[in-house]
């Protein structure tokens, strides 16, 4: 299991953003769905070791992220795309990806090839030497994905990865997700239900900090039978589970 968390909570002052989430998952693409404020981003930030849980236990890639050496090893094998990607506008695409490859402690000799591969995979080869300030929002999102996958991560965490991508890019991205999920655990947080249906083998739904559903996209679809709200079957399942959780 690449992710094993048990009864994890995270509190910000009096607000409980994540309230007792337990989850176990191995290789494959894992979709994390939920409305705004459900706690998806906080959960992802804990998995990315950016913040620590207030309580509960967590093991990532068979290591305890609470220990310094283990956390460093996890981070070497981790790829993370935050919801809001900050960047240095004076960097070129290649410089930005290279910078994070070095901070991930990749062997320097492997870095040029890994940077080129990551940029090719997000189809930004034509912009490799362009300054970030000159790129569109969708291109910047792809730069963010490139830095996340540059170290061939075993655990890839993507927060709203398709935000700003056009339909053609989203299709290409789903293909990339499936390819990456063949050997790594890929957690995709999104509120775009259609991304989950196509690319994910497993899906979880969060609401008010809690996990209210965990299963396959087909199982989520089945939950929506006879439910009226939603245009697509998966959307109806999503709405039905949320309605049941809130009732």
């Amino acid at each position: 299991m690449n992710i094993e968390i048990a009864d994890v909570t995270r509190q910000f002052g009096r607000t409980r953003a994540v309230a007792g989430v337990s989850l176990r998952t191995g290789a494959g693409v894992f979709g994390l769905l939920g409305p705004n404020g459900a706690g998806k981003t906080t959960l992802l930030r804990m998995l990315a070791t950016v913040i620590t849980p207030t309580s509960g236990s967590m093991r990532l890639l068979d290591r305890d992220p609470g220990a310094y050496a283990a956390r460093r090893e996890i981070r070497r094998r981790l790829g993370y795309l935050p919801q809001s990607l900050g960047y240095y506008p004076g960097f070129t695409v290649a410089e930005f990806v290279e910078y994070f490859a070095l901070l991930k402690d990749m062997p320097p000799r492997q870095v040029p090839g890994a940077v080129a591969t990551a940029i090719e995979r997000v189809e930004l080869a034509g912009k490799a030497r362009a300054k970030l300030r000159t790129l569109s929002g969708g291109m910047l999102r792809r730069v963010g994905i490139a830095q996340a996958i540059v170290n061939e991560p075993e655990l890839l965490l993507l927060d709203e990865p398709t935000a700003g991508l056009d339909p053609e890019q989203r299709v290409a991205f789903r293909l990339l997700l499936r390819e990456l999920g063949a050997r790594a655990t890929v957690v995709v947080s999104t509120h775009l239900v259609e991304d989950i249906g196509v690319a994910c083998g497993e899906v979880a739904l969060m609401d008010a900090g809690k996990l209210v559903f965990h299963g396959t996209p087909q199982e989520l679809t089945a939950k929506g039978e006879g439910h009226a709200i939603g245009d697509a079957p998966l959307e109806r399942g999503y709405s039905a589970v949320l309605a049941a959780a809130r009732s």
Binding site: R45, A48, T49, V50, Y68, R72, E73, R75, R76, L78, Y80, P82, S84, L85, G86, Y87, Y88, P89, G90, A94, E95, E98, Y99, F100, L102, L103, K104, D105, P108, P112, G113, V115, A116, T117, I119, E120, A125, A128, R129, L132, R133, L135, S136, G137, G138, M139, L140, R141, G144, Q147, A163, G164
Partner: protein, 237 residues
């Protein structure tokens, strides 16, 4: 007998994808300058050296550290004879630098916080650079002013050396906490030993009310400059 293609002794098929990646990797590769190569050798980490030289701008952290120290100096001036500022100066300045590279100002903070090279060790390196810039400017000003010379020799250069010691300890122990503890211990020992020698430890920042006004004025100037300094634009694609 007709010929075969490829001939039996020909090399295996060339993976053009791999060749292409090799070529573009070389074309796009950045050639680190002498400074970065030296820093990488010294720190034994190309990532750390890159983080150090990628520091978007030293200006804002430098100004914020100045505001923190001068503001604390002015506040302590109203007390008398206590080594509060001298004792706390590196920690106060480091907190200012930490703030400057924190989530509010450094656009890539969130990503940096998830990296294998500890963001706290990166912060120690950046603190060393900020203090070193302080010391260099102090040395330059020493040529024109005796007060600047006293400040530089008695305060700025030791602060730079202590932060270098902290970084060295952190690198050896592979722990930023060990580095910070070493730095704070070193500074405390140094200040207390000065006090034992001649009691001049507070001369630079705590003395009289007019000096407090001067520190406050300088802190205000630094604050205004920090507020208006061109900052790294935050990206939220």
């Amino acid at each position: 007998m007709t010929g075969t293609f490829p001939p039996p002794d020909s090399p295996p098929d060339v993976d053009l994808g791999r060749v292409w990646i090799g070529v573009v990797g070389e074309v796009w590769r950045r050639r680190p300058g002498l400074l970065e190569r030296s820093a990488a050798a010294l720190l034994r980490s190309p990532g750390l050296a890159r983080a150090l030289l990628t520091t978007p701008s030293l200006l804002v952290p430098w100004l914020i550290a100045s505001v923190a120290v001068l503001g604390a100096g002015a506040a302590a001036t109203f007390g008398t004879g206590q080594p509060i500022v001298a004792l706390m100066a590196p920690a106060v300045a480091a907190a200012g630098i930490g703030y400057a590279y924190g989530p509010g100002i450094d656009p890539a903070w969130e990503l940096a916080a998830s990296m294998a090279i500890s963001d706290r060790i990166v912060l120690l390196v950046r603190a060393l650079v900020v203090f070193a810039v302080y010391a260099l400017l102090g040395l330059a000003a020493s040529a024109a002013s005796g007060v600047a010379a006293v400040l530089t020799v008695g305060w700025l250069i030791p602060m730079t050396l202590v932060s270098a010691l902290a970084l060295a300890a952190a690198m050896v122990a592979r722990s930023a906490n060990v580095g910070v503890a070493t730095g704070l211990s070193g500074w405390t020992i140094m200040v207390l030993s000065w006090r034992a020698a001649d009691g001049r430890f507070t001369a630079a920042v705590t003395y009289t009310a007019p000096r407090a006004a001067l520190y406050l004025a300088l802190a205000a100037c630094c604050g205004i400059a920090a507020a208006f300094a061109p900052r790294v634009r935050k990206g939220t694609p």
